[in-house]
Symmetry: C2
Subunit: 372 residues, 2 copies
């Protein structure tokens, strides 16, 4: 027998002062087995069990066999907290989502988990409700779990949050918008490019009287993403020498069905011969299409509509919505790979920026006009 000293102590109450008798059979609820229980049952040292658990090939096959049987017999599950302490590796990667229910961010989480799982990391998800103060709190909670890397949703962070992140001395990746001035690794796409792509597409399809529906830019802590799309759209029009008088900004994010419905009415008043519009979001596009239907305006024959986001209804509506799509799951996977590589020391210290790009899904809501 090995490692037989160091009597277990457990809570005082458990040490019943029975005089030299065996503990009453079955009376004591068996505690969660530890590596020591396994080692005793297999008649080996705890180190040997530990080696079997980590698939070390330094263990002879039949010792391993004995140990594995003991593990199965006891229903032993190693305690990662203890393992983390001893090895100084928690296996956690933190992901701060704005909320849990947005399909895009969920897809990122899914992609991340796909990759991290294979590399034996566990995703630790928190959400901020788009609130900077809450983000700070959540970062602190996360840091207490000693994550080996942190994924943030790109945007502004408090000074204190940034300080904590720096102090933590782990790789940090910002995800979603590509932000040129960020100090962290970035994986994402360009909203500006979304707007340009939409304009290019409408122009290429021979449409000339085109406009866009965006939002008023919000305050400092606001959602500027739609505005970036609109700016890309305007710039592309400018480049093509086309007036941007049909680009309107109304309401604040988040957009709703009504946003598109009302905006298209405004646009129609401004120019009844308008041929095509880009909506900053599929939701807006949906509202616009529905309003057209009510007014007996044919989409895409009379007005073409292109959206952004590829929401689930986009491919189900009538007509099926042509839209610009970002592969968020792939975005998550790329982020995961970046982290795994980084943690494995397979990449340098310099900042990495990955643009996952955009894809335009050609469906039925944009017509093609023969050019004059």
């Amino acid at each position: 027998m090995t490692e037989s000293k160091k009597g277990k102590r457990r809570t005082k109450t458990a040490a019943s002062p029975s005089i030299g008798a065996k503990p009453p059979a079955k009376a004591v609820r068996s505690h969660t087995p530890t590596i020591r229980d396994v080692s005793r049952l297999a008649s080996v040292s705890r180190m040997t069990v530990s080696r079997v658990l980590s698939n070390s090939n330094l263990v002879s096959p039949d010792t391993a066999e004995r140990v594995n049987r003991a593990i199965a017999d006891l229903g032993y599950v190693p305690d990662r907290a203890a393992s983390s302490m001893a090895s100084r590796r928690t296996g956690f990667v933190g992901y701060m989502m704005p909320n849990l229910t947005s399909a895009n961010f969920s897809s990122v989480a899914h992609g991340l988990a796909d990759v991290l799982q294979d590399a034996n990391y566990q995703l630790l998800i928190s959400y901020t409700d788009y609130d900077l103060a809450q983000e700070e709190v959540e970062i602190r909670n996360l840091l207490a779990r000693r994550p080996e890397a942190i994924v943030l949703t790109s945007g502004v962070h408090t000074r204190e949050a940034s300080a904590m992140l720096l102090h933590a001395n782990v790789p940090v990746v910002e995800v979603a918008d590509l932000q040129p001035r960020s100090v962290y690794h970035s994986v994402g796409f360009s909203n500006y490019q979304v707007g340009r792509m939409a304009a290019q597409y409408l122009l290429q399809r021979g449409l000339r009287r085109i406009g866009a529906i965006g939002c008023e830019s919000a305050g400092d802590n606001g959602d500027y993403r739609g505005e970036e799309r609109i700016q890309g759209f305007e710039d592309e029009l400018r480049t093509a020498g086309i007036p941007a008088d049909l680009v309107i900004r109304k309401d604040r994010p988040p957009v709703s069905y009504a946003h598109g419905r009302e905006a298209i009415s405004t646009l129609l008043e401004r120019d009844p011969r308008i041929e095509g519009i880009f909506a900053v979001s599929d939701v807006t596009a949906f509202g616009a299409v529905m309003e057209c239907r009510r007014r007996q305006i044919a989409v895409p024959e009379q007005i073409s509509v292109i959206g952004f986001g590829d929401f689930d209804f986009a491919s189900e509506m009538e007509p099926r919505l042509t839209t610009i799509h970002v592969d968020f799951r792939e975005l998550g996977r790329r982020t995961g790979r970046l982290i795994v590589d980084s943690l494995a020391g397979r990449c340098g210290k310099e900042r990495v920026v990955i643009d996952v790009g955009l894809s335009l899904l050609e469906r039925e809501s944009v017509a093609s006009r023969s050019l004059p």
Copy 2:
């Protein structure tokens, strides 16, 4: 000075054999501060720091003040893994989701997190991809983190998974469908009741020639939830003495736009005078409504449609879809409260079952016929 013995050891390499000299300033990257660093800086014992961290009122105000300053100065964040080991409380609650991207399960997670956060628990999310074997793997991974409670999505689990769950000796809650034969706590709603509610509503609105669109029941590990809704619907018709000849089951889950589109065609062939239908999912309802539109059949004037799920497009489409809604976020909150109470010893050992109920959202897709 207190607690001054036990020289730190760190990795061998760090113990540079400099002869009696102070470590070269700035040369050594400062390690993550521990409670010991804080205690030294504040000239107190580690226990006192620990007490400050847990807001114990056994610390004098100015000692606490000194400690807090030291914490801030060092940017100290306590290590929860170490704390977990010593206190035998991890603060983790596990939630096994089928996937990360379904809006309903995300809402449950959100609700759970809302409540658990306040009680200082942290949600540990895993996903199973609806795969029993993966669920087993994920349960094992989860158990290694020693969660204090586990939330499962209701359904079948492997024998081994059930054994591990039992062995873990923590509260387990099943969430979503209410399953009468489950051995765990359950929080959810009844799919059967969904079908009955839909039928009752259509009948109450004076519609008599009514039917439903469901799916073929899938194999053993399949999605039986739609089928339960359909059965509730049929039973309610039966009770009302109305024939169920317009209840059809086509395709397998998951449903799509096409499912509704094609099914409504079948129904129209079977009886052109059909007045109303219940679709097992809003997606199906959406497809059905769009097909009606194409065929110039007015919804709800000619055919009424009621769905299930309250998907985001339901309130945005034209006409706005009347549907049955489950408040999944509230479901998550109730589950969270059950867990917190249970962990605080505020509830007994017996199984708890909570039905969060259903709400019918009356919108525009169901007409009202005056009864003859």
